[in-house]
C-alpha cells in the first residue's frame, strides 16, 4: 500500500459542460463537484439527459469540442488537473491511469480487428510490452475476466463472442494497464439479468484485487444499492443529492430521489397503484427558473419555481439540492 486509503484519487470541482446549438445553449453539466477516494465506488444515477454521461466523458476529456465546451471547473487526478493537460499527456493518461467501459462493447471494440491485436495495442503503447509479452498479457487478461479457453479465443473477432463475453473482453481491455480509475457507463444495461449479475460480480472482484476506484453510471437503483459506497443523483445537469449509499436509500433528503426510490416496484410489497413521478424530464435548453424539478415535484411551493434551491448539508457527507431539504430528510427519518 503506497497510499493511505483516505486519500482522494479524484477531485472534481464546479465542472460545467455546455453544448452550443441553434436552439440555444444546453447546460448538460452545470456545476458538478465531487471527490472520489482511492478504492471507493461511486454510483451516479440519473435519467436520460441528466448529464451523468457527459460529466464522465468530460473527466476523460472525451467531449467533442465543438459543439461541446468545458466552460469551467477542474478535474484533479492525483494532484494534476486533467483539463489542463496537453494532447500527448492526455493520451498517456487514457487507458493507462483511467479507463472506461460502455453500455455497448462495440463502441470500444474495433469489429475488423482481432481481439488479440486490440488488447496487445494497449499494453504495447502504454507499458512498452514486446509483442510476445503483450500477447501473453492479453491471454492472461481474458482468463482473468472469465473467458473460457482464452488461449484459443484470443485471436477471435469481437462478433464471435456473445454479448456478455464481449462485455468481458472490453473490461479486459480497460483493465489491461491496471488503471487507478475505472469509469463504467451503464455497463450492464443491454444484458440479461443473469449476465448482468455475472458482470457486476466480475467488476466487484477485479476492483477488490486491483484496488482501483470505480465510477458506476446507471439508471438502475438496484445496481447502485449492491455495488457502491457513495451515490450522486443527477437531474438536469445538477447534483440533486449526494450521500453514502446506505444513507441515501434509508433517508433520502431530496423529493426527486425519494420519488425515484418509490417508483421502483417492490417485490415484497403487495400490488396496487405504483407511485409515479408526474410529467416529463425537462428540456435542458428551456429550463424553468428556480428548481428544474419543481414542475414535477409533489411538495413544490411557490419559492421553488422562483428561486434556485440551495445545496443543503444534512450530515457530514449528505447533501441535497432543495429548498426543503431539511424537512424532506426529517420526513424520511420518521418514516423509516
Amino acid at each position: 500500500m503506497a497510499q493511505p486509503v483516505t486519500l482522494n484519487l479524484l477531485e472534481v470541482k464546479d465542472l460545467r459542460v455546455y453544448f452550443h446549438s441553434e436552439e440555444g445553449t444546453v447546460k448538460a453539466v452545470d456545476g458538478v463537484s465531487f471527490d472520489l477516494k482511492q478504492g471507493e465506488t461511486l454510483g451516479i444515477v440519473g435519467e436520460s439527459g441528466s448529464g451523468k454521461t457527459v460529466a464522465n466523458l468530460s473527466l476523460m476529456r472525451l467531449i467533442p469540442e465543438p459543439p461541446g465546451e468545458i466552460v469551467s471547473g477542474s478535474v484533479v487526478l492525483r494532484g494534476r488537473d486533467v483539463l489542463k493537460l496537453s494532447r500527448s499527456e492526455l493520451r498517456d493518461l487514457r487507458g493507462k491511469r483511467m479507463a472506461m467501459i460502455f453500455q455497448d462493447p462495440m463502441t470500444a471494440l474495433n469489429p475488423f480487428m482481432r481481439v488479440s491485436k486490440q488488447l496487445m495495442e494497449v499494453t504495447q503503447t502504454h507499458l512498452g510490452h514486446t509483442k510476445a509479452q503483450a500477447r501473453a498479457h492479453a491471454v492472461r487478461m481474458l482468463e482473468h475476466v472469465g473467458i473460457p479457453d482464452a488461449t484459443d479465443r484470443v485471436d477471435s473477432y469481437p462478433h464471435e463472442f456473445s454479448g456478455g463475453m464481449r462485455q468481458r473482453v472490453m473490461i479486459a481491455m480497460a483493465l489491461s494497464c491496471q488503471p487507478e480509475l475505472l469509469i463504467a457507463d451503464e455497463p450492464t444495461t443491454a444484458l440479461d439479468v443473469t449476465i448482468q449479475a455475472q458482470i457486476l460480480e466480475l467488476i466487484k472482484r477485479l476492483k477488490a484485487e486491483t484496488g482501483a476506484s470505480v465510477i458506476l453510471i446507471t439508471h438502475d437503483l438496484g445496481v447502485v444499492a449492491g455495488m457502491t459506497d457513495q451515490v450522486i443523483v443527477m437531474y438536469a445537469g445538477k447534483i440533486f443529492e449526494r450521500a453514502p449509499t446506505a444513507e441515501l436509500f434509508e433517508n433520502p433528503g431530496n423529493p426527486y430521489t425519494r420519488g425515484l426510490l418509490r417508483s421502483v416496484p417492490d417485490p415484497t410489497d403487495e400490488q396496487g397503484q405504483l407511485y409515479q413521478i408526474p410529467g416529463q424530464p425537462p428540456d435542458l435548453a428551456r429550463l424553468p427558473p428556480g428548481c428544474p424539478f419543481a414542475p414535477r415535484c409533489e411538495r413544490a411551493q411557490e419559492i421553488c419555481s422562483r428561486e434556485f434551491p440551495p445545496f443543503v448539508q444534512l450530515t457530514t457527507e449528505h447533501y441535497s439540492l432543495c429548498h426543503f431539504a431539511n424537512e424532506v430528510y426529517a420526513e424520511s427519518k420518521t418514516v423509516s
Partner: protein
C-alpha cells in the same frame, strides 16, 4: 376461490422454426432455429399474463406468432373458437382488430412522417370504424385516454419524449377496441420515472376496458408488479407457470430461482446479505438445444437423468407448474431433495407409458 375466468386464447403445441443457412467450407447445411418449440399456454380473459426469459428464449417470437406477425410452423392458436394459426391472410387481417401489439421501441415503431393524428387514426380507417369528424373526435378521445394533450394532434413523433411516444403507440393499439394486447417490452426503453407512469397507464386501461395482456419483459420486477400469472420461458419452452405472486415468493425451477435472485434490489441492506444463484455461461444456441432438459448445461442441480429425459410441465403445487424431473408434488423443494434423486421421474415414466 372464484372460478378462473374463461380462456381467451389457447395455444396448443405451437412451434415456430426459422431455417438458417450455415455455410461451412465446401458444404452448405440447412439448420433450423427452434425459437418456439412445442409450447402450450392458456391466457384467460381479463388477466395480464407475464412472459419472462433471457434474450433468445423465444418470448418475442411467441408474441409475434400469436398475432401472426411471424408465421407459426405448426400448432394451434385458438381465439374465439377459430384457429388463428390456420386462417388465410385476409381472414387474419379481420381478426387483427381484436389483437393488437405495443412495441418496445417507441422511436422505431412510429412512422416519423406521419402526425400523431394520422398514426392513431390509421387503424380507424383500415377497419372503417370512423371517418371525418367522428374520426377526429375518436383520436382526441384516445389521446386523452392515454394522457396526451389533444392539442398536439398535428405534431410529429420526434417532437415527443420517449414516454409520450409510448403513449402514442398505446393509443394506436387501443383505437380499434381490441380484446387482447401483446405488450413486448413496453417499458424497457423508458426512463425509470416514466416506467411507473406507463405501467400504471396499462393497468388502468386493462381494468377500464377489460383488456387481456401478454406482457413480455426481461424485467422481473416490472412483470411481478403488473401480471396476475407468469410464464417463464427457456429455449422455446415454458419451464414454469403459475400465479406471479407464488412464483416470486417460491420459485420451483432452478432457472426461475436464478432469474429472480439475479435482479438487483434497491436496498443496500438486502443486497449485502442475500444469496445469489449464479448461472454459468450464456443461453445455449436454439439451433442445437441441449438434449433432455434444455437447462441442464447451466443448472447447478443437474444430474445424469436431466441430460436424457425431457421434462414435462407438471402441476407441482395447485396452479403452479414446473418442468423439472428433480421435483414432484410430494417433494417440491429442489434444495431438500436428496442428491442424485429425481422424484419427478416417476410421473414422467407414467406419462411415457400412457
Amino acid at each position: 376461490m372464484n372460478d378462473p375466468e374463461p380462456t381467451l386464447i389457447s395455444i396448443n403445441d405451437l412451434k415456430v422454426h426459422f431455417p438458417v443457412d450455415a455455410r461451412r467450407l465446401f458444404r452448405r447445411s440447412r439448420q433450423v432455429v427452434k425459437a418456439v418449440d412445442g409450447l402450450s399456454l392458456d391466457i384467460r380473459q381479463g388477466e395480464t399474463m407475464g412472459l419472462v426469459g433471457e434474450s433468445g428464449c423465444g418470448k418475442t417470437t411467441l408474441g409475434r406468432a400469436i398475432l401472426r406477425l411471424t408465421e407459426p410452423t405448426s400448432g394451434e392458436i385458438i381465439f374465439r373458437g377459430r384457429d388463428l394459426a390456420h386462417l388465410s391472410n385476409s381472414e387474419m387481417r379481420l381478426q387483427r382488430r381484436h389483437l393488437q401489439v405495443i412495441f418496445q421501441d417507441p422511436y422505431a415503431s412510429l412512422n416519423p412522417r406521419m402526425t400523431v393524428s394520422q398514426i392513431i387514426g390509421e387503424p380507424l380507417e383500415t377497419f372503417r370504424l370512423a371517418t371525418g369528424n367522428a374520426k377526429k373526435q375518436r383520436v382526441q378521445e384516445l389521446m386523452e385516454m392515454v394522457g396526451l394533450n389533444p392539442r398536439f394532434l398535428k405534431r410529429y413523433p420526434h417532437e415527443f419524449s420517449g414516454g409520450q411516444r409510448q403513449r402514442i403507440g398505446i393509443a394506436r393499439a387501443l383505437a380499434v377496441d381490441p380484446e387482447f394486447i401483446v405488450a413486448d417490452e413496453p417499458i424497457s426503453a423508458l426512463d425509470v420515472s416514466i416506467q411507473a407512469q406507463i405501467m400504471n397507464l396499462l393497468d388502468r386501461l386493462r381494468r377500464e376496458k377489460n383488456l387481456t395482456y401478454l406482457f413480455i419483459s426481461h424485467d422481473l420486477r416490472a412483470v411481478r408488479h403488473v401480471s396476475d400469472r407468469l410464464a417463464v420461458m427457456y429455449l422455446g419452452k415454458i419451464v414454469e407457470l403459475g400465479e406471479s405472486r407464488a412464483i416470486y415468493a417460491n420459485p420451483l425451477m432452478p432457472y426461475t430461482k436464478a432469474l429472480i435472485s439475479a435482479v438487483p434490489v434497491p436496498d443496500p441492506k438486502i443486497e449485502s446479505t442475500r444469496r445469489r444463484i449464479m448461472l454459468e455461461g450464456d443461453v445455449p444456441s436454439p439451433i442445437n438445444p441441449p438434449r433432455g432438459c434444455r437447462f441442464h448445461t447451466r443448472c447447478p442441480f443437474a444430474i445424469q437423468a436431466c441430460r436424457e429425459v425431457e421434462p414435462q410441465l407438471v402441476e407441482i403445487k395447485p396452479n403452479h407448474f414446473a418442468a423439472c424431473i428433480r421435483i414432484s408434488p410430494e417433494e417440491p423443494d429442489i434444495e431438500q431433495v436428496a442428491p442424485g434423486f429425481a422424484p419427478g421421474l416417476r410421473s414422467h415414466a407414467a406419462a411415457d407409458l400412457a
